[in-house]
Structure formats: C-alpha cells, structure tokens
Symmetry: C2
Subunit: 227 residues, 2 copies
C-alpha cells in the first residue's frame, strides 16, 4: 500500500493475515529477509506471490518511454503489495530499507485452493490500495509543492514516527530523488521545500534523513488534506 494518504493508515489489514490458518492449507507461506537493493519483482515478471511486509521499506517504480521515472508507492510494515494486473507485475519493486516479508502464493488463491477468508482479506487489501491511490491522485494532480511535501511528511510521521516530548521524529529511508519521483517534483524543488518547512518552524532536520516534526498542526495546515 501507499505511503498512504488514506484517512486511517493505522488500521491496516495486515494483522488479519496473521490469524488466517494458512499453514494448515495448501498455500505455502514463506518468510524472507531482504537486503537493500534487492528486487522483490520487476515489471513483466510472472506474479507468483503477494507480499505482506513485516519490517523494512520497499519502493514500487515505473518508467516512461522517455526515461522519466515515477515512484508509485513506498511500502511500510503492515502493507500488502504485489497486486498484478493479470499474470504479470507491472511495476518494479525493490528494497530501500532492510526488510522481512511474508509470501503468499497467488496461484493458490486463483485456483480457489485458498480459504475464503484469505480471499476476502486480499480483496479488502486491494480496496484499501485503491482508496490510497485515489488519495495520492489528489496529491499529484491538485497540490502545490509545499502541500505535497507537507502531506508526505505528515503521513510518514503518522506511520513511522516515534514521539519525542511534544515532537515526533522519524527517518526518511528514501533519497530526495525518490521523494521527488513520488510527488511529481524535481529533486531541487523537494530540497527547497524542505528548507521552507524548516524556516517556517514546522520541522527540523537532524540530518538530511532524520526529520523532527516541531509543529504538526502547521504541517497539516500546509498539507491541504482532502475534505
């Protein structure tokens, strides 16, 4: 799922999977640890699995003819990814922070070998994905640079932040280039916008990758979140 811009990223569906007694059934469920740089799958690969992320961060990307790259989503623990169009993946997906993922055989679902609950849960995950993508569409189409970056930081803070007195702090596992390609901006604009947010007092940067949210209300004000 997306970094997520959905109303309630906290109520993820992931835990439901844990309850499913998959091991007693035909689906082979497997765990895997993945180092940074590993590709979970590439565009065009046969889609053999769905993946539930237990830890780490993954990145889904796609490229236009002319080389312009788009980061479609960043995926965090609890997210379920690997929804294919048909038999094949239509994005590249690689690891940007060391990750553990659980694999679910897609075929078992397609063949009806899988439990109905499992199938239902997957549908719910897909519906949630659709909702998250709608939110991201709004961001890309209708928000200014500062609104985009503020939204992005607000969501990351919500999902991965640890509180630090009145403040909240979190690490950005991705580069400025990734953020730019996710938000439909350039590296320079992202960097400049970080500076604006710093100077406004909404955030501070401990390092270029460690953000401290000093004023969440200000950040949310600037993010123009959907009605």
């Amino acid at each position: 799922m997306y970094v997520n811009f959905a109303p309630h990223p906290s109520e993820d569906l992931g835990h439901l999977f844990k309850e499913t007694p998959c091991v007693n059934r035909s689906t082979s469920v497997r765990q895997r640890r993945l180092a940074v740089g590993t590709h979970l799958f590439r565009e065009g690969d046969a889609a053999k699995y769905f993946y539930k992320i237990k830890s780490g961060v993954l990145r889904s990307t796609r490229v236009l003819k002319n080389g312009r790259r788009q980061v479609l989503s960043f995926s965090l623990p609890g997210d379920i990814i690997g929804f294919p169009n048909d038999e094949h993946h239509n994005t590249d997906c690689d690891v940007i922070a060391p990750a553990e993922v659980t694999l679910f055989r897609r075929k078992a679902l397609a063949n009806g070998e899988e439990s109905p609950e499992m199938r239902q849960l997957l549908l719910l995950a897909a519906l949630r994905e659709i909702s998250a993508m709608q939110d991201h569409l709004m961001v890309l189409a209708r928000k200014s640079a500062i609104e985009k970056v503020a939204s992005f930081l607000a969501v990351l803070s919500e999902r991965t932040g640890t509180s630090l007195g009145n403040y909240s702090t979190f690490e950005l596992p991705m580069s400025r280039a990734d953020i730019a390609d996710f938000l439909g901006l350039t590296i320079e604009t992202v960097s400049r916008t970080f500076s604006v947010l710093r100077k406004s007092g909404a955030i501070a940067l401990e390092t270029s990758k460690i953000v401290v949210v000093l004023d969440m209300d200000a950040l949310l004000d600037m993010s123009q979140t959907s009605d």
Copy 2:
C-alpha cells in the same frame, strides 16, 4: 475503471459477470437506467452495491478542503465501479451520459453468501482498477499538458471510437472543465491543447464535443505512453 490508460482496455472483465449464475443465489442483481445528472452515490454514502456499467458514462469526483475538484475517473461500458474503502464510498459518482447499470449487493460478498467465482471476479476487477490507476498516476505526475490530452484522446478513441475510413471518431461526453479536472490542468490549458492538436493535424473537431482522429500515430507519439 478508469478511462483507462491501461495497456489493453479491450479485455475487460465485464463479460465474466454475465456468466455468473447470480440470480440463482442470494445476491439480488438489479438493473437500473439513469438520466444525466443522477448521482449513483456520494462521498460518505454507505456502500451497498458494486456497479457494472452496461451503457453510458459516469464520473467519479472528489474535492479538497479548499474546493479544488479532482475527477478521479470516467467510467465506460464494461467497467465495474463502486469499490469502497470500507463501509462507505469515498467519491461522488454521477451520470454524464444516460446510463444503464447492473447492481451487485456488496453485503452478499462480504458475508460470503456470494459464489466464490463472483468474489474472484471482483478481486480481478479491483486489481485491474489498481493497474489503471497506476497508469493514471504516471500521466498526472510525469506528463506535459499535450501528452496528457493526447493520452486521454487516444484512450477514448480506443474505447469508444468508431472507424470512419482511415479515421476514427468519437464523442466527448464530458466538458472541458471535466477533462481539466481529470488531467490536473485548467480549462484554458485543455482548450489551448486541443487547438495545438488541431493545428498539428493529429485531430479535427467536428463540434467541440466530437473528435475525429486524423493521425493516430501522431497522437500516440505525443502521448508518451508508458514503457
């Protein structure tokens, strides 16, 4: 589903629904005819149904706090719409060309009263929707005005065009404002871009709502469709 930007909009899933023997089961399947302006549902409404479009055109929209509107999708015959986030719709959906839709009770699916095939098909429709939205993300984030409009016209031509000698012609059921709000542009920019495409000889406008594609190759060249 989206107007669609997906690789193969022709292979829609709709026909599969027809084969499903829903009438013999608990799902009440109903038909409905809808006049222009009718709301199929509104943001916040309880999501009682999924809808399969038999004819006509529908429009899904969402609005930001500050009033900026985004058209999330135009839906054409064969598309399945009404995917909710949870129990509620998160978009407005209204009719922009007289439509016939088939209703499928969502509850029956959630309760497992529905056939496994039905559920599977719905999952496939959702996956297809995700894929289409990914395509549209690329358009919004990474394409210029002319590429956006060219993509849009190419897809509409593909999905609704009738061939006319070497040419292809189709009607735009939506206003320039709708197209602008779909592509993340302004009315003026859309209008100017139509003029550019006219002057380049790629298209002609019979009326402002009736497009003739004179040179599909040129149109596709300008659309920078994803790799």
